[in-house]
């Protein structure tokens, strides 16, 4: 296996085979392989095309509302009594999460490739909504695969997708969560490969998706780096982001990877704890394996069968992780720690009360870790948390966890 990065940089991967060390790759059926190669070719052309860049920048500014603000969370900082906590406000983007960054990039690519139909998978529904949104904007029919369990716990987003003209197909296989939705999307793709573009929502899947999604999401970290330099005159001490597949996290982390003085922490869904199977902490409790087109850390049994996992947050309820995170874990550059359902729920409520911001349950995992470490840090130290999405979609889940009817 080739090493993607030199000793001097963590930012040069993947290699030409799509590998980040032993992770990544193109583990797909032959039917898809010619299309994957075509996609790679088009992506390489597009990323070097100033017109593509200009159109994406224009849409990011006027349609999605970028740049997103870097907000000093004064209420939470006071509440914690330690380091200064900043939120990167991806929740303020059009559609309410970071997912739009990737969808705008990929829909332009789909159009460039002459595709006629969009398919997507979704967990929490944020990527499904963003996919349905850009499909509506650019006039594509859109089919979103969503686990039946997630359809139930993310009803507001299901309705939004339908309003936007997308067809939502519930998937009842397995636990009816993101993994099962991705299997079904891949089956659709292999069947309709000629005219269909698969808009993958996270920095995972076969090469070039992990690199491509990272590039579209890196706008988060590029902006945050510039903003903190403007607002504080220096780089942060700690970055924190939640990791499901890991697109918001890699988007924030990547531009900082070579700033060695910045400590970088990814948060996995600890569910009910890592002792049993009720969690989605693939990098803390899994081992390397091959699923959904890439090699990465996976929750699996000793026979290589994939486990379903559990998280209170539908967006983190996935037994794998993007391959670059696996590589960053093994290289030691990024630390990955679990946060339990209860801790995320507590952070959700605290943030709502002291900041007047209702965070997505995914983002609440990242905030929960900031709540653990900030009180122990100095007052002039800085923590940036990626507030990847807003929590309106989660109010039903939170209400039922709190034993309330709405």
């Amino acid at each position: 296996m080739n090493k993607p990065a030199t000793a001097n940089s963590f930012r040069t991967g993947p290699d030409e085979q799509g590998m980040f060390g032993i992770f990544g790759g193109r583990f797909v059926a032959e039917t898809l392989m010619p299309l994957i190669l075509e996609l790679e070719h088009e992506w390489n052309a597009a990323k070097n095309d100033p017109a593509f860049r200009a159109e994406l920048d224009n849409l990011s500014t006027f349609y999605a509302g970028r740049p997103s603000k870097l907000y000093f969370a004064e209420g939470l900082t006071k509440h914690l009594g330690g380091a200064k906590v900043y939120f990167k406000r991806e929740d303020l983007n059009h559609t309410g999460s970071h997912k739009i960054n990737n969808c705008l990039g990929q829909i332009l690519l789909a159009r460039r490739m002459g595709k006629k139909r969009i398919i997507a998978e979704t967990g929490a529904g944020q990527h499904g909504v963003a996919s349905a949104t850009v499909s509506a904007r650019f006039g594509f029919p859109c089919v979103v695969y969503m686990g039946a369990t997630d359809v139930e716990r993310q009803k507001p987003n299901v309705f939004r997708m339908k309003l936007l003209g997308a067809e939502v197909k519930p998937v009842s296989a397995g636990h009816g969560t993101l993994k099962d939705a991705m299997n079904e999307a891949l089956r659709d793709w292999v069947t309709n490969v000629e005219d269909t573009y698969y808009l993958i929502g996270t920095a995972a899947g076969p090469h070039p998706y992990p690199e491509m999604v990272r590039e579209f999401q890196s706008v988060i970290g590029k902006e945050a780096r510039q903003q903190i330099l403007e607002q504080e005159g220096r780089l942060p001490d700690v970055l924190i982001a939640a990791v499901g597949g890991g697109s918001n996290a890699i988007g924030l982390f990547h531009p900082f990877l070579d700033d060695r003085e910045v400590k970088i922490i990814g948060i996995e869904a600890g569910g009910h704890g890592l002792d049993g199977d009720e969690h989605c902490a693939s990098m803390n409790a899994g081992k390397p394996g091959v699923l959904h087109g890439n090699r990465t850390y996976l929750l699996q049994n000793e026979d290589g069968q994939i486990k379903d996992g559990h998280s209170i947050s539908a967006g983190l309820d996935y037994p794998g992780v993007g391959p670059e995170h696996s590589w960053l874990r093994d290289s030691g550059r990024v630390e990955y720690v679990p946060i339990l359902d209860d801790e995320a729920l507590e952070a959700f409520q605290v943030t709502t009360k002291v900041e007047g911001i209702i965070p997505a349950l995914e983002s609440a995992h990242a905030i929960a870790h900031a709540m653990k470490i900030a009180p122990k840090m100095k007052k002039d130290e800085i923590v940036i948390v990626n507030l990847s999405g807003r929590g309106d979609k989660d109010v039903h889940t939170v209400a039922s966890m709190m034993g309330m009817e709405i």
Partner: protein
């Protein structure tokens, strides 16, 4: 070096008829029943056996094979048990080629070198691993070839002439042509399109070309067998098993007998190709 696959294909070529390649899911619905199905296959007229390795996330399979894999896993099947089935089968049959078919992760987790040692010891002749395209040959294909195990590649309608040589490069045993872009168990496309595709592949290789995905009846087997060197049937066999299960752990008939009845009919289909050519 020749394998059981090479020898069987050469023999059938001499007989002037295509091979009947039968897929079943190892461990469906349980180990013992599945072994009895495996033993019944050659007697019913199967020329090559594809032994399915169940996987939790079979992303190229339709509902029938997905359900079969889940039944097998629920019944306690593992990769080690699937290898042991082959080993048991070999005690009484050292001629019928066995090809293991499935997905890469269970093999990767077992360890590639250890898997190849175990597979050879169990009398496995070939491998079909759906999620290992030629771009990933270093993972399993090249080690398998070195170990003397055939690595049978899938070629599909999207594999164009430019790509075909790459797909064929490290393929051995036979080439498995997937008749359509889709998942297992979909409807068979126009057989004339299939014969054009088979001719296209044969222009690039000396290897036998077997065609699968969508073949369910003796008539379809005969039609496909007229142009291909072999016909692969999978979903229909898996359905024959499912149809005699009552969903409560019981069965309404013997699964091995149900499979044998189906396979006998399919075998007549491929054998009538020779009769037609001779007559």
């Amino acid at each position: 070096m020749t394998t059981r696959i090479d020898r069987r294909m050469a023999k059938l070529k001499a007989e002037g008829r295509p091979a009947l390649v039968t897929y079943f899911m190892g461990g469906d619905p349980d180990y013992d029943t599945s072994l009895s199905i495996m033993k019944a296959l050659p007697k019913a007229g199967a020329d090559i056996i594809e032994l399915g390795m169940p996987f939790s996330d079979p992303m190229a399979d339709g509902p029938a094979i997905q359900a079969a894999g889940l039944r097998a896993l629920k019944g306690g099947q593992t990769l080690v048990k699937t290898l042991s089935m082959a080993h048991e089968f070999r005690k009484a049959d050292d001629e019928t080629p066995i090809v293991m078919m499935g997905y890469y992760n269970p093999i990767y987790v077992h360890g590639v070198e250890r898997f190849l040692d175990d597979a050879r010891a169990a009398g496995i002749d070939g491998l079909i691993v759906v999620d290992l395209p030629p771009e990933m040959d270093a993972e399993l294909c090249l080690p398998a070839l070195k170990a003397g195990v055939n690595f049978i590649r899938l070629a599909t309608p999207t594999t164009d002439d430019r790509r075909l040589p790459r797909v064929l490069q490290n393929t051995s045993g036979f080439v498995y042509y997937v008749s359509m872009t889709g998942i297992t168990g979909s409807a068979l496309p126009d057989t004339s399109k299939v014969s054009v595709a088979v001719r296209r592949i044969k222009a690039h290789t000396e290897l036998p070309v077997c065609v699968g995905f969508g073949v369910k009846t003796a008539e379809q087997a005969r039609a496909i067998g007229a142009s291909a060197d072999g016909v692969v049937v999978g979903t229909a066999i898996v359905n024959a098993v499912a149809n005699v299960l009552d969903g409560k752990g019981g069965r309404t008939a013997d699964p091995a007998q149900a499979v044998a009845t189906l396979v006998s009919g399919l075998a007549q289909g491929v054998r009538s190709v020779r009769l037609a050519a001779a007559g």
